[in-house]
Amino acid sequence: MNGALDVALRLVAVFVVFLVFPLVVGQTEHKVMAHMQGRLGPMYAGGFHGWAQLVADGVKFAQKEDVVPAQADRRVFQLAPAVALLPYLLVLLVIPIGPGEGAVGQAVDAGVFFALAVMGVGVLGSLMAGWASANKFSLLGGLRTAAQLLAYELPMLLAAASVAMAAGTVSLPGILHAFHWWWLPWQLIGAVVFFVAGLAELQRPPFDMPVADSEIIFGAYTEYTGLRFALFLLAEYAGIVVLCGLTTVLFLGGWHGPWGADGLGWVWTLLKAAILAFVVIWLRVTYPRLREDQLQKLSWTLLVPLSLAQIALTGIVKVVIS
């Protein structure tokens, strides 16, 4: 009985995180973008600095009519947002935020593999949306999404494999237990590759070619309205949370910090993830969009060789120190 209660509590906690953190990232994005671009942004809703703007946005989305185009494939069209969103919820289950037993939703033996495998499934949602909309812009967006995923999945996996080699385990808490501070410089290349590839997998600027609004309106999501569109947006922000959490755990030492991990571990994890989320927003504001061919070239000719070099480096150092 106690066990069932424990599981239920963990699920509820992860679900709350899943509902709250993406919204916090979204709100931060509003504010940070406004400051960086020297404009006001939404300032009126709720009074102080427009804090209630997200609520207003949510109400707006819920009020809009849910339209399915006449030529669309109804069921696939309607199912797509759920397929895009749910994988991120599952990945959140396995990300540990502290050293204790209770600081992870569910300890999975092959956590790294689980996280990357399930994250890849989310892209199926964009593909389904792109095809089922019966709209050529959507189809183009779907195509670009698929090409992007195929290109960036490989460097992401290789970078994660490097950390798994270093730690000698593929369990996320296990990797953190094996972490030492000098892993930071050691795995630096892998960290950059992982983060950049993750950004591309989330289709965040500067890798937002699949939703390039000046060319193909909004890519695979062009035909969506109301709550289903909001679900896609939520998936993007949940993806940011997951990516920042994974990068923190794999490369930045998760709960390890200068003053020890006891009790304050989760603060370190959240702080590092928050800084990474800030960087994600920062990149969106400052970098122009990569063209499709530049985007593919970056992955195949730069990130893949770099991640292979990182694996070689990891192997050499590992053999030398053991």
């Binding site: 696939v76 033996d109 092959a110 593999f113 495998a117 890849g120 593909l127 698929a146 061919d293």
Partner: protein, 225 residues
């Protein structure tokens, strides 16, 4: 999924010979779940090959492959299950959908999504299934997976058996994959060179061969526009 009971698998090549006889009369929860998921997987696979809607077939394939991953999980092979999701659901199906969208993927039925070989295909599939089931049941008749003991399908166990007992097949397979990779590059380059020669020869022959390139870097064509 992650709630799957802590279980074990015959990852070790020398499965322990069953001492006690095993019966099927009082199935455990895991066995029932295994059977139900198997039925779903089988149904999805059937729809995959019978539906007239191409993209639906690919999506039902996702269900079938995902069902297989769940079966691996129930048999305690956690690592294999995630690899199944990563490779098949995450990459192979995405590649398939990419190919479909790039060539033709009409909404609704494709009138030509039918084959005159369907009875031959059915016969071959049945024969293959019977042979596989017969061989596997005969080969592993005495191997039983202990679902209640310590998990024997963990990454550590799988990795150890892979790199201790099965290193040679593993390496041979990687050489085979490398050969396939090189072959794909050779084929795609040949098609490209031919397209170029055609374009040099007569003016209008640029479009057709280029579209056939397997295109490991598909989007480069975009940039050349």
């Amino acid at each position: 999924m992650s709630l799957a009971p802590t279980l074990s698998l015959a990852a070790a090549p020398h499965g322990s010979l069953a001492a006690a006889p095993h019966g099927f009369l009082s199935p455990t929860g895991v066995e029932i779940a295994f059977l139900l998921v198997g039925l779903v997987t089988f149904g999805a696979a059937l729809i995959t090959v019978t539906t007239r809607q191409l993209v639906h077939a690919a999506l039902w394939l996702v269900v079938a492959l995902g069902g297989l991953a769940v079966e691996y999980l129930l048999l305690t092979a956690e690592f294999i299950a995630w690899v199944q999701v990563l490779i098949y659901v995450g990459s192979v199906v995405v590649l398939l959908l990419f190919g479909l969208m790039l060539t033709r993927a009409p909404i609704g039925r494709s009138p030509d999504a039918d084959s005159d070989n369907r009875w031959v295909a059915l016969a071959v599939a049945t024969a293959a299934a019977v042979a596989l089931v017969w061989v596997v049941t005969n080969a592993f008749r005495t191997t039983w997976i202990d679902l209640t003991g310590p998990a024997a399908g963990t990454t550590r166990v799988t990795g150890a058996s892979l790199f201790r007992y099965w290193v040679l097949p593993f390496e041979a397979l990687s050489v085979l994959l490398l050969a396939a990779l090189v072959g794909a590059i050779v084929l795609s380059r040949k098609a490209k060179a031919k397209a170029k020669a055609d374009a040099d020869g007569d003016g209008d022959a640029g479009d057709e061969p280029a579209a056939r390139t397997p295109a490991p870097v598909p989007a480069q064509k975009d940039g050349a526009r």
